[in-house]
Symmetry: C2
Subunit: 253 residues, 2 copies
């Protein structure tokens, strides 16, 4: 751990970095997790480390979609558990939604560790544990095709922060609404998902919690209107435009 | 290690990722190194994982500058050693230039490991080893201020791939020409250095080697003209414009 001064302009980002490095040393995360975190850092830096208007729009549509869902599931991988376990558990209990572990590089020890992190964060029930039943998702192979029969397998809406492109695509092909949180608006996940929130999940989940609390007073019809009005392709394009403008502005300065 | 198919569109990037993860497990790299690599990956992805025209221009100016130098030094950190030790050693012997270890999070075991990597790559002499003399660089504190009395301390030109902003700035303030290789054209390092090559160092160093071989036939006057004609601020702006255009193009598609 390095001492980080709260006055450092990138204090929060550096704290998260240390949290990730610590979790990696504890064996919760795969090798690729730190590198993936770094990619996220780069995009977050480009976005000014703040939640931008297109993300706010997507968060609103995502919250309405989660409230309308019959069987919503929150899918949790290693990075999500390390960065936002408490928030994910709070959101799950609020909706309510099921919580399912889904690791890209699934190993029994890591599954156990992620389960422990979720339980410590207050989760009552966790699906996708070692020894749990699972069914294969059509279009995927190996551990990545695992879906719990009472979780992702029957879900109509899945919130999958930091998902990989193949899995997002397969879930959509199965008729599920996929809500993803991904800082790279160029990723296949961003393009293939039903609702893409281009933002840092440590900021996003608390904002979804807030929005869900606000929107649960609304009628189904009002929620359906929010969902209908949202155009994901258009919204991802707005994020791309933001980046383009950002570099344009800097170039002129 | 994960099996990676050579047919994967991002095969090279995935190979480098595995190389970095492996080196981290061996203790050569600090925690932050994998995350830094991820940030680089994101920018490299944005640049299409190829060396772009502004980088080619900067590589030409850097090669001429290295050939004109009285005391050129190649500064090597952990990531550079892991990704490009052989190329750095070849470039050092070609110029010739000295090779100096410079670690942001300097610990004796890591210094020894980086030295071993450089020696295995064929380096005869390595400066900045454990027990080596060092003098502090004005404007820096702690291990980051270390400079070898016969290396960076007296160098007129320093090639420092992946340098941090403070150190790049301090070296420039001491009157040295700082050539950096940094995929983030917005970084302080990119802005503060004398010559900024916005590219992936695994592609850059072989291109510098090639350019040095080509340019060493030139007269000093010809080399000086190449250096004079190069405007770093303008060139970094061209890289920013490339990113802006890249996101603009995608947004329209």
């Amino acid at each position: 751990m390095h001492d980080i001064s709260p006055s450092h302009p990138r204090y929060r980002s550096l704290l998260l970095r240390d949290k990730m490095a610590q979790a990696y040393r504890e064996g919760i995360l795969a090798d690729s997790a730190l590198i993936a975190h770094g990619r996220g850092e780069a995009f977050d830096y480009i976005f000014g480390e703040k939640t931008n208007p297109p993300a706010i729009k997507a968060i609103r549509a995502a919250s309405a979609t989660l409230l309308l869902a019959e069987n919503p599931v929150l899918s949790v991988n290693g990075n999500t558990a390390v960065l936002a376990a408490e928030d994910m558990v709070e959101l799950a209990s609020l909706l309510p939604a099921k919580v399912e572990i889904n690791l890209f590089y699934r190993t029994p020890p890591r599954v156990v560790q992620v389960e422990r992190v979720l339980k410590n964060a207050g989760a009552n029930e966790v699906l996708g544990k070692e020894g749990d039943d699972f069914l294969p998702l059509k279009g995927l192979e190996g551990p990545r095709s695992r879906a719990h029969p009472e979780g992702v397998y029957i879900a109509d809406v899945v919130l999958v922060p930091l998902e990989d492109g193949d899995r997002a695509e397969a879930l959509v092909a199965l008729g599920k609404k996929v809500i993803t949180i991904d800082l790279n608006p160029l990723s296949r996940t961003a393009k293939k998902s039903s609702i893409t929130i281009v933002d840092n999940l440590v900021r996003t989940i608390p904002l979804i919690i807030n929005e869900v609390k606000r929107l649960r007073e609304c009628s189904r019809q009002e929620l359906e209107e929010i969902v209908m009005e949202f155009d994901n392709d258009e919204n991802v394009s707005s994020s791309l435009e933001l980046i383009s403008e950002y570099f344009k502005r800097d170039e002129d300065s």
